[in-house]
Structures are given as structure tokens and as C-alpha cells.
Symmetry: C2
Subunit: 275 residues, 2 copies
């Protein structure tokens, strides 16, 4: 939330963006990136060129509700003015959600303890106008119970080499996954079964809500394309192409060729970062 | 819902579309319209040129979840094939939701008994990435209770001349409004108060859900721009620029200049048509 304090010179800023028209987070020459747009907006309102740090890069097409950015600045603008000013300067597909004072030395990536990613699937034969920009359209009916069970194989501290796309090797492929939730409005036994269009004030028609499947994954970190490969692998199971047990076996193989496809970028959203 | 019947030659087809990139419903030469896209898709799959009838035109920029279209055809394609074929041919911002057999002579406009429109407002100082295409951004905090009370003045059979935009006169300006609901997730006394991001499987961050206000209006018909003028007038009251009683007085004046502004098209959605 916005704080009306004139803090020192370190800010924790939370951003939302629609990834569709950005070439990802990280600044690149001649490309439209979120970092580039943010740093330009910062320059516009403070006159200061900064290089900000984010909790992590998001790839081209990936969205964020809660990307966190750390900024060290000489500017004395208070949080309230930064929020209003940045939002006035940012393009309409990127928004500052909050500006909070942070301790000196705050680094959005190094100090991140967990991240929640959400992968959205629109599981209906019919395409969805409302969800087409934010959910992967999978026409074949998916077995949600099987996906829930398969998702449990991902929990804990493990070597996730099977889920890392080539081309961007990390020092270690060991990560800890704290939770995997497969959430479906149509799932009667689900805590969300009350989520009908009559009870939810949202501009989505009933068939779209009933056909929305969300995969929420929380972990201490993720390998390149890992959440998208998790989504692709869970859909593999949900579609009945692989049994539930395959998930654990695939992880043990530590071989990317064994996993499911990398699900498309536009279904993925960085929801929040924990510190 | 889809019916697997090969019916006669009359269909009731329900469409959803994102109005942003269409010049409204009605066919116009050299313009991208929903009717034009639909009739082209129909031609592509059946080889037949048809002129369809819709429940009503929607203006440029206005969305639909449940626009209803009547089609008379010589084609013998069954509902299931029409649904799949049309969706394969339509652009991704228009979708066939259902194909149902209709009695011969069905006319989507003449036989419509009611229409539900929804006007969405994003009421937060911060802009919203997720809602920017489907909700009017009103930064000033609105008094929802006042809007609810003011909305009641619209109920019943009345002369709505004050709410009709010039340039498109109807024979009569008398219409019947069956219900007006102002729905807000942040409203504690509301039946939707349980609608938190934890209980709703939707890709919207909490602040956006809490700042969403929906105005649902059901009536037997609407004058040109009437729902958008209702929304603009209710915001007038919600923002405290007019008292609650002004709504009824403004209607009695039968003078468009007395009403609030015409709210922007992109916040409006045709939700459903009753027959």
C-alpha cells in the first residue's frame, strides 16, 4: 500500500503489466521492455537516470500482477507523488500498484524468498474472447483431479533439470517448491465452488468462468521456463496422455526431453514476490 | 448450449465479442464490423451469403457476452459443426458461444423481451492493466450507496428522453427498466462480500477486484447511448456532484442536457438477451 512518508532513497515498487506487447522485463536496445518503460517514466518525473533491479526477469509475453522493483534514488519525491507520477508517464499496459519505503540496500532479486506464479488455462472447446490474452486455450477436456495429484510430485526441494529449457543454464537446477494448487471453478468439491457468475461481480460470462483452470505454483525460485513447462506437463496428464505417476518419473530423469511442452507465454503471470 | 440436432433452417446463435477493434455490430462498407465478420465466416463454412438479424446494434467499442443473432439458412450443417466451423473462421475477438435451433421466423430483434447490459467502472486512483479494456477508469472515490439509491429512480415504465443521445431519434422514448443493480466487491453489506481473490479463481489482483463497480441494467429496450448515459449520471451522483434525488428530477425534465456525461463505450457489455 502507498505510504505517505518521505523515505530515504530506497523504494520497493510493485508493478503490474500486460506482457503481450513487451519484449519481456529486461532492457534491450531498440526493444520495448517493461524495464525500459519504467526507467523512462522515472527519468521523466525525477530527471534522474536509474538502473533498477527486479525480482527477476519475465519473458516476452509473460504478465505480472506483482513484479517487485528496487530503486535507489537521490530524488526526494514522496511515495504518493512517485505513484501518481509514474502512472501518469507509464504506458497503459504497465501500472505501479504500490510504492513503499525499503531499507537501504534492498535488492528485489537477491532478497526475494518466494515467488508465486499463476498459469491460466481456458479449457473449453470454444475460444474465449475475454480470456484470449491471458489464458492458454486448451479445447480438450482436462481431468483436474489427475492434474492435482500429479502436481504434488513437484513439492519440496528437488533437482528440476527436467523442467529447464535449454539455452539459459543456471548454476544449480535445485529449487524448492512450497505449493502447487490446481484451481478450477467448475470443480464441485473445490473451495471455489461458490464462484458462479451470480456471486462474482466480474465481467466474464458463465461458460468462461467454469472453464478456467489456474495452476498456482509457489517456490523459492524457478529455472528458465520452468512454470510454463510445469503447465505443459500437467496438461499432458490432464489430457490423459500420461498417467499421474509420470510426473515424478519425469522429474527423476533430469532430462528436459522427458517433460511436456512449454506452455505459451501469454497464460503466465507473476502474481507476487515474498520477502 | 449446443444441440446435436439437425434443425430446420433457423438458428439462434449467441456471440461474444471484444468491441475494441470493431466499428460496432452493423455492417458498413470498408469497416470492420461484427456483423461483417460473422457473415463472412458463415459464407466461408456454408458457401452461402446471408444477412443476419441481431437483437440490436452495439456501437463501436461496445462489447458483448451474449449478443443474439437469428439466421435463416439453406445449409444443412448441424449445430455442432456450425459452432466449430464459425469459431475456426471468426477472428479471435469474436466467438460463437452457442448455436440453438429456433422456430421458423425467429427474429432476434423483434422477439427480444429484455436485455441486460453491464457497465463496468474501475474505481481506483491507480489505473488497471487487467481492466483497462473493459472498464471505465474513474479515479475519484465513488459513493456506492448513493449510486444504488439513485439507480432506483430508473425503475419502471418511463419516458427516458433525458437519457437519449441526439442524432438517433426513436419513435417513442418510453421504455421499461426492470432492474438496476450497482454491484461492488468492496461493499461489505453486499452479497458479493465473499468475493476476495482467495475465493475467486481469477487472474485479477486484489486491488482491482476491490475497486470494480458493475452497473447491471435490465430493460425491455434502450435508447441510443442510454446505458452509457445512465452510467455517466450515476457516476455524477457517486462523485457527489449531484444529490441522489437529482436522478429522478433529471428524468422528469426530459432534456438530454440535464443528464450526466455519456460514459465511454469500452466499459459497456451486452450481457444477455431474454426471449
Amino acid at each position: 500500500m502507498v505510504q505517505n512518508i518521505v523515505a530515504g532513497s530506497t523504494w520497493k515498487i510493485t508493478l503490474a503489466y500486460d506482457g503481450a506487447d513487451f519484449c519481456g522485463w529486461q532492457s534491450q536496445p531498440e526493444r520495448r521492455t517493461v524495464q525500459g518503460a519504467f526507467e523512462q517514466a522515472w527519468l521523466d518525473i525525477t530527471g534522474e537516470s536509474v538502473r533498477v533491479n527486479a525480482s527477476g526477469r519475465t519473458d516476452s509475453g509473460v504478465h505480472a500482477m506483482g513484479q517487485v522493483v528496487g530503486v535507489q534514488t537521490e530524488s526526494e519525491l514522496p511515495a504518493e507523488r512517485l505513484l501518481g507520477g509514474l502512472n501518469a508517464k507509464l504506458p497503459d499496459d504497465a501500472t505501479v500498484v504500490s510504492v513503499e519505503a525499503a531499507p537501504e540496500g534492498f535488492h528485489a532479486q537477491h532478497q526475494a524468498k518466494s515467488k508465486r506464479y499463476r498459469y491460466a488455462i481456458h479449457n473449453d472447446r470454444r475460444p474465449s474472447v475475454a480470456l484470449r490474452r491471458n489464458a492458454w486455450h486448451v479445447p480438450q477436456q482436462l481431468d483436474i483431479e489427475a492434474m492435482k495429484r500429479a502436481g504434488q510430485a513437484l513439492l519440496g526441494k528437488q533437482d528440476f533439470a527436467s523442467l529447464e529449457s535449454v539455452g539459459s543454464p543456471r548454476e544449480s537446477t535445485v529449487r524448492t517448491i512450497f505449493s502447487v494448487e490446481v484451481i478450477a471453478a467448475r470443480d464441485e468439491g473445490d473451495r471455489n465452488s461458490a464462484a458462479t457468475p451470480e456471486t462474482i461481480p466480474l465481467p466474464l460470462p458463465p461458460y468462461e468462468l467454469n472453464s478456467l483452470i489456474l495452476i498456482d505454483v509457489v517456490g523459492d525460485g524457478f529455472l528458465y521456463n520452468m512454470v510454463r513447462t510445469i503447465a505443459g506437463s500437467l496438461v499432458h496428464v490432464g489430457a490423459g496422455r500420461k498417467p499421474v505417476e509420470w510426473m515424478g518419473e519425469m522429474l527423476l530423469a533430469k532430462d528436459r526431453k522427458r517433460a511436456g511442452q512449454t506452455a505459451p507465454a501469454h497464460g503466465l503471470t507473476l502474481v507476487e514476490v515474498g520477502y
